[in-house]
């Protein structure tokens, strides 16, 4: 992120945020933002609610692209008629796919474009990692890809990283733009807005004719940021980064750990024997991780109507690798814990040249036994966790 981070910024007063959201909605975007669900927060359609951006949602934004449950297609399995396979032809904003006939393909048409507000930089970066899995190989996952194409990601930079955050160690940062189409930066009573991608530009062009100077249709809430604003934003960014690096547990020696794990001895390192011991095998760390992408495929059948579905799965479950013969290549929590760490910090690196962790800290916070991935990495880096 160079000097031009702060060039050509726009500005909106915090209290006008909802006006902007209305403008997005008027130009036919569906707007999603963090919503509360019981004790937890997740992303959902806000439909008229006021936007309130939490520090980081409990559930990551990945589920808007790769939902926990998803119908791949449906079929008749009565055995009477020939099976007809129907794939869904549209994806609704919150990820549910209604039924429709579209054999052998998923149409990229008929899907409402969406804007997601209030994504944090770590979650946005995670989407780019998921792209490696779902959209960059010989096979592309159409369900994921379509949602990606039709979504504008508006990231809110983090003014006050928390103490479970360690994004900077993973190559990101509280102002990291990777994966974002637009970035909002807090500055006193306003947000400064940086339009990053073509998709972001289109969103603003469509929603805000006033950007070109004409104030006829929308109330005039967006301005160009002046030097004072930019100075304030720059200071806020420096302060945020300073806050993060002052927290010693946020400085995780990932490179050294990746190096150890990447050696031929990494897999059989004696540290594995001890490090997993308190793990309960509960999978919270993978279900809430913005980069975890493992899934299961199965059939659900009622009254001769069947659906081929996919559900999130986790390498922390014994069933994940259990063969029908009863043989299990990863028989205990030791192997399964190792798989999780190795996948993120070694296997993924070998395949894609980057680690599969964005340092969001969700696994740190939510592990019921406080088995902290940062500590695990520190052990492999040969050091002691601060």
């Amino acid at each position: 992120m160079g000097e031009d981070t702060f060039k050509g910024l726009l500005k909106i007063a915090k209290e006008d945020l909802d006006v902007l959201v209305d403008a997005f909605a008027k130009s036919s975007y569906v707007v999603l933002a963090p919503v509360a669900e019981g004790e937890a927060t997740k992303f959902g359609v806000i439909g008229g609610m006021r936007i309130k951006i939490p520090h980081l949602t409990t559930r990551p934004v990945k589920e808007l692209f790769f939902p926990q449950n998803e119908t791949l297609f449906s079929f008749d399995c009565s055995g009477k008629a020939d099976s007809t396979i129907k794939t869904p032809d549209a994806v609704t904003p919150d990820g549910v796919i209604p039924d429709a006939v579209m054999p052998d393909a998923v149409a990229t048409d008929g899907i409402s474009p969406r804007v997601i507000m209030g994504v944090r930089p770590c979650d946005a970066r995670a989407l780019v990692l998921l792209d490696y899995v779902f959209a960059s190989n010989e096979y592309k996952d159409p369900y994921y890809t379509i949602r990606r194409e039709q979504t504008v990601v508006i990231t809110f930079a983090c003014p006050r990283p928390g103490i479970a955050c360690f994004c900077a160690s993973t190559g990101g940062g509280p102002y990291d733009e990777t994966g974002s189409d637009v970035m909002f930066m807090e500055s006193d009573d306003s947000y400064l807005i940086k339009v990053i991608s073509e998709k972001g530009r289109r969103l603003f062009q469509e929603s805000l004719p006033l950007l070109k100077g004409g104030c006829s249709e929308c109330p005039c809430v967006i301005f160009e940021a002046d030097d004072t604003d930019i100075r304030a934003a720059r200071d806020a960014k420096a302060a945020s980064e300073q806050l993060l690096s002052a927290n010693c547990s946020a400085n995780v020696p990932i490179e050294a750990a990746v190096d150890t794990l990447g050696r031929s001895t990494g897999f059989s390192d004696p540290a594995w024997e001890e490090i997993y011991r308190k793990c309960l095998g509960c999978a919270v760390c993978t279900y809430l991780c913005p980069t975890c992408h493992c899934f299961d495929i199965g059939d659900e059948e009622t009254n001769d109507y069947g659906e081929r579905v996919r559900n999130w799965d986790s390498c922390m479950f014994p069933l994940f690798t259990l063969h029908a013969s009863g043989h299990n290549p990863r028989p205990s929590r030791k192997e399964r814990f190792r798989q999780r760490v190795m996948h993120k910090f070694n296997y993924f690196v070998e395949a894609n040249d980057c680690i599969a962790c964005v340092g969001c800290g969700r696994c740190v916070e939510n592990c019921p036994v406080n088995l902290d991935i940062r500590q695990v990495l520190s052990v492999f880096a040969g050091g002691v966790f601060a």
């Binding site: 006050r160 103490i163 010693c248 509960c282 019921p368």
Partner: protein
């Protein structure tokens, strides 16, 4: 970084207990009585401790004690290899008793190190006192960066603020009404009984579930299904429960497949009802399941109610007696059968 322990100025009970645990661990490891000593050590976040598996006496100084020692460590005991010492609170020991009764660990393999418990804190309650959404260290307005525990209060610190909360105001719900804060079985009791919380009458714990039971049927069902709907079927509640040790849980059975991870509410309900029935007469309200749940589902609604049903029907409280038959293995002629359809 975050001090769970007493603030060092006075020798409070917490400090005494912590020293007691360390000394006991050292002794047990040195004498070879145990191969591993399981206790708590400092965690990596404010108000967090983490399970510690201590194998050499020198490491015993890592052990801590305080109101953040939330985990029920007996979860590690089923099928444990070797002799083990384990720190237990009043509730934890009752799951251990069950494990012994159910032949998951033999009594002579485990050294029970009981702690007179003054209650553990509930992070959700702290969050509510702070008025934040999400974990306390992720508060938008006041992210907590460190915490200190004194004899009676917590002092939370963040950028430019310090906030004191009385421990009594943020105790875990199970602790508030705990009837057995002093372990009912132990090999060693650290400190003395006067260091524990004042025990409440068992009935005190049922106030909430009783109130809930008095609601209209629809109101009950809608609350229940709203909670269960949010379940993401990670089964962390099961994994955290010491009594959920089945080698193959009914949820994991492939044929027949009892529970699907497909998005249906009915499957989720089936899971929760199945689980609660499987811990009927065994659950001790330790709260481990509820704390493990990443989306904060009100699991105590089920566990506490089941406990009440068992108590009222069979005059049985789980885990108090190490010499009886487990409730479900015992039959008495006078057992009520009015729930059998």
């Amino acid at each position: 970084m975050n001090k769970m322990t007493g603030n060092g100025t006075e020798k409070g009970t917490r400090h005494i207990i912590e020293e007691g645990i360390r000394n006991t661990a050292t002794k047990m490891l040195e004498s070879g009585e145990v191969d591993v000593f399981i206790g708590y050590e400092e965690g990596t976040l404010p108000l967090r401790t983490t399970p510690a598996f201590i194998t050499c006496p020198e490491d015993a100084t890592r052990l801590v004690w305080g109101p953040a020692c939330e985990n029920n460590l007996t979860v590690y005991l089923p099928k444990f290899q070797g002799a083990v010492g384990v720190v237990v609170k009043g509730c934890d020991v009752r799951t251990l008793t069950n494990l012994i009764l159910e032949n998951q660990i033999s009594r002579d393999k485990v050294k029970i190190v009981g702690v007179p418990c003054s209650g553990i804190i509930d992070r959700d309650r702290i969050r509510k006192v702070l008025g934040t959404e999400g974990p306390i260290e992720r508060s938008m307005e006041r992210p907590v960066r460190s915490a200190q525990v004194t004899e009676r209060s917590l002092i939370l610190e963040g950028d430019g603020f310090e906030f004191e909360i009385q421990l009594e105001d943020v105790l875990a719900p199970s602790c508030e009404t705990c009837a057995y804060p002093i372990p009912v079985v132990y090999d060693v009791l650290i400190g003395d009984e006067s260091m524990a919380r004042h025990a409440k009458d068992s009935e005190a714990g049922y106030v909430e579930v009783t109130r809930f039971a008095e609601l209209e049927r629809d109101a009950r069902f809608s609350y229940f299904s709203r909670e269960i709907e949010r379940c993401i079927q990670c089964y962390a509640c099961r994994q955290a429960c010491p009594l959920c040790y089945c080698p193959e849980c009914f949820t994991d059975r492939q044929s027949p497949k009892w529970i699907s991870r497909w998005r249906g509410l009915s499957d989720k309900i089936l899971f929760h009802l199945g689980r609660i029935l499987h811990v009927a007469g065994r659950c001790v309200d330790c709260g481990a399941c509820r704390r493990a749940c990443p989306v904060g589902i009100d699991l105590r609604l089920l566990t506490k109610n089941m406990e009440k049903v068992v108590k009222e029907s069979f005059e049985y409280e789980s885990g108090l007696d190490i010499d009886c038959l487990p409730l479900l293995a015992a039959y008495k002629r006078e057992d009520p059968d009015d729930f059998i359809l």
